[in-house]
């Protein structure tokens, strides 16, 4: 669609700014946009959060239902993550079945949550091999201005922190808080003109050469990473992003 043809002018302008150490919205390279998180936003969900990261807005809902475990993990609950990049959020999103972009977003967030052991999945087992809780994490993007990875990740973690397992309704005893273990926080940076910019806006994403998302947990250990776009990173640049992610991850965690 016409709106997505990036004018050379815009690319040049952002590159010029970056060369001078500036960004269009006046932020520092390692600064996040204003972040607002509201939990328990959706009553029909077992856990939920509404996240505003700059002009990007996402709603994450956590639903828990009874089901069967996977045969190779009979003692743990099941985690499924889905992302809906609905056309409402941007004229660049088309409706229909999930495309590569929404699938990548869902899988990267899933990786962070799963490998970061955000939730103690073993506590979601009711009868080993027979019955467990299936946890659905559904990300709904309402307004798009870049960096879905981080906005959705923060939404998921915030939703977990306030979620309740609906055991009573399912006849499995009393309700109990979702057994949260860790807070994996992802931080995404893009590379423009050799510089690394954290929390890219849509414009910055469109002119970026490469993108790197790094998720860490409280002790600073890494739990998930994803490089995107068709440019490249040097090893040094990778370590820089990892450092920024540790630091910013800790800041975000302290605010949650």
């Amino acid at each position: 669609m016409s709106k997505d043809v990036v004018a050379d002018l815009k690319r040049d302008h952002i590159s010029k700014l970056v060369a001078k150490g500036m960004r269009a919205d006046g932020r520092k390279f390692d600064e996040l946009r204003p972040l607002k998180i509201e939990t328990n936003f959706i009553g029909s969900a077992e856990g939920s959060a509404r996240v505003h990261l700059g002009n990007t807005e996402v709603v994450v809902g956590v639903k828990l239902i009874l089901g069967e475990p996977f045969p190779d993990t009979p003692n743990t609950g099941v985690l499924t993550t889905n992302a809906e990049l609905i056309p409402m959020a941007s004229d660049t999103f088309e409706g229909g079945p999930p495309d590569q972009e929404s699938i990548e977003v869902a899988r990267v967030i899933d990786r962070g949550i799963r490998e970061g052991h955000a939730v103690d999945m073993e506590k979601l087992c009711i009868t080993p091999g027979k019955e467990v809780w299936i946890m659905f994490v559904d990300v709904h993007v309402l307004d798009y201005d870049g960096n879905l990875f981080d906005a959705a990740n923060m939404g998921a973690v915030a939703a977990f922190n306030s979620a309740v397992v609906p055991a009573k309704r399912a006849g499995k005893g009393e309700d109990f808080p979702l057994p949260v273990m860790h807070q994996p926080i992802s931080v995404t940076a893009v590379k423009i003109g050799g510089k690394l910019l954290v929390d890219p806006t849509h414009d910055e994403e469109r002119v970026a050469e490469a993108r790197l998302t790094v998720a860490t947990i409280e002790d600073g250990n890494l739990c998930a990473m994803q490089k995107g776009l068709d440019g490249s990173f040097t090893m040094d640049e990778v370590f820089q992003v990892v450092d920024m992610s540790r630091r910013i991850g800790a800041e975000v965690r302290s605010k949650m």
Binding site: S2, K10, L17, G21
Partner: protein
């Protein structure tokens, strides 16, 4: 009818379907006639003249008018024209006859490319909304360098200001060359610092188009230094 808060200093915000005039007034832009009465057709500010009443819209697409100056973006190239996006529901063709060079059939790509930003004039809008644009007039051309931003077309009069006062202040205080397209696209070029301040000022104008003392606020913003640096 209680408009609690929507009526201050004579400015009334109306929504589609609201009655504007019972009789005796012509239906101006942004309104429609039904049974001899004039009603609002868009969300906007009611504007009453001696013989007509209209609504100045607060939002909406750019509707091309013959003679308008617009900032367009090439989105496709054909053998005898370039297709230009002018921020309107209808993309418009720029024919090889409407540019200052002699372009052979099939050679359009040699002169301009997809993504190029152009300063154009609306030459014609026919009954079925087909638009034609031209780059022939004095001053019209491909724009290089600088930066383009978009504002809602309904805010363009505010960016220009009464007698061009606002745009003049923007140019003087930022040292930038600025072209404001009627289609809400604004091109500016100059020192990076000047461009950043101009962009911030224009965003303020867009956000607060209806504020009292906007000119003063914009002036103060322009006097500040720009950017924080890395």
């Amino acid at each position: 009818m209680d408009n609690s808060g929507s009526r201050e200093s004579g400015r009334e915000i109306v929504v589609p379907g609201e009655l504007l005039a019972v009789a005796g007034k012509k239906a101006g832009p942004g309104t429609y006639l039904d049974g001899g009465r004039v009603y609002a057709a868009q969300l906007g500010i009611k504007s009453v003249r001696p013989d007509s009443v209209s609504v100045v819209p607060l939002a909406g697409q750019y509707i091309p008018v013959r003679g308008d100056l617009v900032v367009g973006k090439i989105i496709d190239i054909g053998p005898s024209n370039w297709l230009v996006d002018i921020n309107s529901p209808y993309p418009s063709p720029l024919h090889v006859n409407e540019v200052p060079w002699r372009v052979e059939f099939g050679e359009t790509g040699k002169f301009m490319s997809i993504g190029d930003i152009l300063l154009l004039k609306i030459v014609d809008v026919d009954e079925v909304r087909r638009i034609s644009v031209s780059m022939q007039d004095h001053g019209l051309r491909k724009l290089s360098g600088g930066m383009v931003i978009e504002v809602s077309p309904s805010k363009v009069p505010r960016v220009i200001g009464r007698d061009g006062s606002m745009i003049q202040m923007l140019k003087n205080m930022t040292g930038c060359r600025i072209y404001v397209g009627q289609n809400g696209r604004i091109w500016m070029d100059g020192e990076l610092d000047g461009i950043l301040r101009a962009v911030r000022a224009i965003k303020m104008i867009e956000d607060e188009a209806h504020s009292i003392g906007l000119t003063e606020k914009v002036k103060r913003l322009l006097e500040e230094k720009s950017g924080k640096g890395a």
